[in-house]
Every structure is written in C-alpha cells, then in structure tokens.
Amino acid sequence: MSSRRTTFNHIKMRHFAACLISLVTVTVMIPGMSTYLPLSTPDKIGLPIFLFLFLWAVFFIYSYLAKNVWHPLLVMSLLLVSHLTLSILALQ
C-alpha cells in the first residue's frame, strides 16, 4: 500500500470521521428524522432505520473521497447537532 501516503492526506482524521463520527451521526439521525418525516408512524420509524445503511456507506466513502478532510466532518457535525437538537426538542 505505497499509495497510502499520497492518496489520502490527514489519514488518521479520515479514519476517525469514517469509522466513528459517521456511525454516531447516522445513529443520532434515526430518532431525529422521525420528528420531521411527514409519514405514517410505522414509516417514520422504519424509513430512518432502513436509510441507516445507505447513509453510513455514503458518509464512510465521502470521508475518504473528500478533498478536504474538514468537509465531511463539517457536514456530519451539522447533521449530528441538528438531529440531536430535534430529538431533544421532541422529547421536551
């Protein structure tokens, strides 16, 4: 894997974003999405669960493909914070 040094910059940060942050983000998005999806109750619960796999794969790949490592981190952080806020507001 000689390409490792040249193919990806900030590799540790990318691993962190792809493996951990993406997993936390999509997990938080499940309850968050159920607060605003205009669907029946089974679909409000079901669809975020089914989207979990695809969203995680997208975030995982994006974490490595993005030119700047801060882009995926920023996108995921925004999604994480917004969905966490929506969940807390819904609980209150």
Partner: protein, 537 residues
C-alpha cells in the same frame, strides 16, 4: 470519473477487504450452510425425527386440553405450539406462558405417539437458552453472532453488513467498465489473471444478491443493538417494548372472562389445506378457554414471499384473515420488513430457492478471499510494496488457516454430531460442539503457520475437509443404520440429500484441489501481468 478518485476508491476497496475479508468469509460461508440449517440439517442431526410424522389436528387438540388441565390458570394466557421438524424444535413442543410472572412451562412430546418426553419450568429466555442444541443450531447461531452473543456478536455481524456495502459500492465504481465483460473469465491464463477475472465475475454476477444480503444482514445484526433503541428514543421515550408492540400484528385479545372451549383442530385442519406449499411452524393461542380466545397459525414458503399468519376465532375455530407478519400495518416499512427475513434466509420458495441462496452465499464468501489472494499475490511480486515479504507470507498463512480452517471445522461438526448422538457424551451438546469446532479451527490456523509451504498447508486442509465429508454417509450407517439408498426408499429426503450432498462435496473438493495444484505447478516463472489493476499501476 477522475482516475485519482478511482485510485482512492481502489485503495478504500482494498483496505476494507483486507480488514474485514477473513471475517466476511467466515460469516458468508456459515450463512451459506445455515440456509439449509433449519429444518434440513436439523432433521439430519436428530435421527429419531428423520421420519416425517403428520400430527392429526384432533389429536393435537386433545393433547392441549389434557395438559392445560394440569397447569395453573396463569399459564393459559399464551400457548405456543411449535410444530415438529419445522424450525427450532425437532419434537412437538408446547410452551405455556405466564406473562405476569415471566415464567413458562415447556412440554416436549414424541412426534408419533404424542407421549410426554419432558417438562421444564423457568423464565422464557432461560428455557430457550438451555434447550438441547445440535449442529444446525450451532452453525446458525455462529452465523448470527459468532457465539459472542449480544451486543458484541450482533454488532460485529451487523457492521460486516455495512462494510460489505462499502465494498460493493467501491467495487462497482472501480470495475464499472468491466460490466460489459460479464462472461470474461480467462481461466487458461496465469494464476493472477484468472483470479482477477474470477473476483470480478463473482462481484458483477452477485451484485444484487450481495447488496440484498448486506442490507438485510446489517439490519438483522444491528436491529436490537442500535436501530430499535435509537428509533424508540424519541417516538416512545426510549421504551423499546412499546415500539416492538406497535409492529406486532397478532395482538392478544381482551379477555371476556367467560368460558368457551378453544378450537385447535378446526384451525389446524384449515391451515393444512390453506396453501399446500406453506410449511406450518407455529400455533399461538391467546386466552385459552376464554370466549374471546384467538388462534394464530404461521408458516413460511407460501405463494407470498413473506411468512404468513392465519387468524382464527378461538371459540368457533372460524378463519378470519391471512396476512404477512407486518402486512396489516400501513406504509412502505412493513412491506420491506416482511421481505427482509425471507430475502436473507432464502426460505420462501422451497429447496430450489434455498439451493440458489446457498450457491450465491458461497460466491459472497469467495469474493473477499479471492480479493485478498489478489492483494497478496500482487504485493509479493511488487518491488514497491510497503510491506515486507514475511508480512505477506504471514497474512497468507492467516487467510489459509482461518478461512480453510472454518470450512474444515464446519465439516468436522457433521461426524461429531453422529458420534455425539450415538454415545451420549458427558458434556452438553453446545459445549461439545464448541470445543470441536473452535479446536479444529484453531488447529488449522496453527498448522498453517507451522507448515512452511503454504501450498502444502492449503492442500492438507482441503483434503482433510474432503475426507471428513466423504466419511459422513458411512458413519451415518455405522451410528444410526441409515444408508443413502434406504433413506431414499423411506422418503427421508432431508437426510438422504444431506448425506449425498456431503459426499458429493467431498469428491468435488478433491477434484478441484487436484486441478488447482496441477495448474499452480505448471505456472510459468514469468507470469502474465497484463491485468494488474490500478493499485500497482
């Protein structure tokens, strides 16, 4: 797509494959075997139930009425009758549940005579966990959670579903131009060209199946660990039971507290003739001997892909409706949920679909191993590689030991089951199978590291597996007296076909190993490197 992006995708594809490859092989291989785990291997593993026995509806009703009178009233809230040779239980098993105290009484009956064989009392979970297991349970449970339990085991298998998705997506973009070469398999070329074609052909042809398995596998693994707790967090204030209740379409009735005999024979007779292709698995009775009692009979393999539940009025035995497990709920999610299970297990269309699912499952297993062999082959030959020759050699040994070892360990379970059945060992069956399975697997890994020549260790493992499989039909004759010909004559199809399949697999492994080793020994020194891929370009 820019070549630099493709290079990134290629690197990502390689990394994911190398990190998860061995585990993915283990899960996919045991998954392919598990397709026939219940009931086929289960019936084979329990010689006392190899002969099919049809339970007469009237006899079953008499049996339930007789035994209900012996148990406290609180245990009549829910009665689950597990029909024999269907899924979890080989013998007819009736579970009487007391919901208020979380206790249950489990009674097991002889399939032909309906004589009581055993009675156990305890919590539902405890009774299920301490039940007698066989190699079918062992393999299926290992595939589900690697015998690491929840949450670790389920999390691992669920995450593998996620990483398989990444491999599929990255692989698709890397080889998207190869889609037009669906039939390109240059098996007469050098080893690495043949291997590269093999990897791509498997990936392209299995694209849809692998996608389905990755999606359903990730869901089944992560459902109870991450998905349901997360989904229940807001909608049900974290109450997961309430969330599950919402998806239950067989609700318990409100008791009338008025006596009325509950019909079991009439619903069962109706269910047996409702759809001839449907294999009935479970009868659930709520509120036995109450006027409002409900009877639900569920089964798989009907014209509908999803498992079907037939609903009956308990007091009259009249059929009310048939529906999928989640089919009564509105929206798209229940439809997806209904399809999730049959699409993962391949249990919706009889033995032919199961065979296709097994073969496709084996191609899923061969994908990571062929990818890893490619990476190793190219790395060993490359002059610019970051890793030393000894690192590649050790990884190769690990791949041979772990992947070949799990195949060997699974094969060893079959003779072990026959010996365990005929000798009544001191250890519980699950412990015994655990020692044999993990012991054989560990031994294979140690051997792969001890034998210097990796070709020799591969051959040794392949021949050991083949000899083990070839022995099974003969050992079956010795321990149970059942030979393949008489099994066919007695129409004990599950046992006969399992014996025949294991024997055929043994012959095929010997044949393939000979062909591959002949090809390797004839390989010219200067290999054709025309198809080395981007990684080494």
């Amino acid at each position: 797509m820019k070549s630099f992006t493709i290079k990134k995708l290629y690197t990502l594809h390689s990394w994911v494959g190398i990190v998860t490859g061995i585990l993915l092989f283990v899960i996919a291989f045991t998954g392919a075997v598990s397709v026939f785990g219940r009931p086929e291997i289960k019936v084979w593993a329990n010689p006392e139930v190899r002969q099919a026995a049809e339970i007469k509806p009237q006899s079953l009703e008499q049996l339930i009425v007789q035994h209900v009178s012996d148990i406290p009233e609180s245990f009549r809230e829910e009665i689950n009758i597990f029909l024999p040779r269907a899924r979890t239980f080989t013998n007819l098993t009736v579970v009487f549940e007391d919901h208020d105290n979380g206790q249950a009484i489990v009674k097991t009956f002889h399939n032909q005579s309906l004589q009581l064989l055993s009675t156990r009392t305890g919590s539902v979970r405890e009774l299920f966990e301490t039940r007698e297991t066989d190699i079918a349970d062992f393999i299926v449970d290992f595939h589900a959670d690697l015998h690491l339990g929840s949450p670790l085991g389920l999390l691992l298998t669920g995450l593998l579903g996620l990483t398989l998705t990444v491999s599929i997506i990255t692989g698709f973009f890397i080889h998207r131009k190869k889609l037009r070469n669906l039939f390109t398999f240059r098996w007469k070329k050098s080893f690495d060209v043949s291997l590269a074609d093999f990897h791509k052909v498997l990936g392209v042809w299995g694209l849809l199946f692998n996608g389905v398995i990755a999606f359903t596998g990730a869901f089944l693994g992560l459902a109870t660990v991450i998905l349901i707790p997360a989904a229940a967090f807001v909608t049900f204030n974290g109450d997961q039971e309430k969330l599950v209740e919402m998806f239950v379409t067989t609700p318990e009735p409100i008791m009338a507290n008025e006596f009325a005999s509950t019909k079991v024979a009439k619903p069962l007779a109706h269910a047996q003739s409702y759809d001839e292709d449907m294999r009935l698995e479970l009868i659930s009775i709520y509120g036995f001997e109450d006027k409002n009692a409900k009877v639900y009979i569920s089964g798989v393999g009907s014209d509908k892909v999803s498992a079907q539940t037939l609903s009956y009025e308990g007091s009259s035995g009249n059929f009310t409706e048939a529906f999928g497990r989640f089919g009564k709920l509105e929206g798209v999610s229940p439809v997806i949920l209904d399809l999730m299970f049959p699409l993962h297990f391949g249990n919706f269309g009889g033995p032919l679909v199961k065979l296709i699912w097994t073969l496709l499952g084996l191609t899923t297993a061969l994908l990571p191993i062929s990818g890893m062999m490619l990476w190793l082959h190219r790395g060993e030959k490359s002059s610019t590689s970051n890793f030393s020759a000894s690192t590649y050699s050790n990884v190769k040994r690990l791949v041979i030991g772990a992947c070949g070892g799990v195949v060997f360990a699974t094969a060893v379970l079959f003779p072990a089951q026959l010996v365990a059945w005929s000798t009544t060992p001191q250890l519980s069956s699950s412990v015994l199978f655990g020692i044999i399975f993990f012991g054989s697997w560990l031994l294979s890994i140690v051997l792969a590291f001890c034998i210097k020549n990796t070709g020799l260790s591969s051959k040794l493992m392949a021949y050991s597996t083949a000899v083990t499989l070839l022995c099974v039909p003969f050992l079956n004759v010795l321990t149970t007296g059942d030979d393949i010909f008489s099994l066919f004559l007695l129409k004990q199809w599950e046992t006969a076909i399992t014996d025949l399949t294991l024997f055929t697999l043994g012959v095929l492994i010997i044949f393939t190993t000979k062909r591959v080793s002949n090809k390797s020994s004839l390989e010219p020194v200067g290999n054709d490197n025309s198809d080395k891929g981007i990684g080494n370009a």
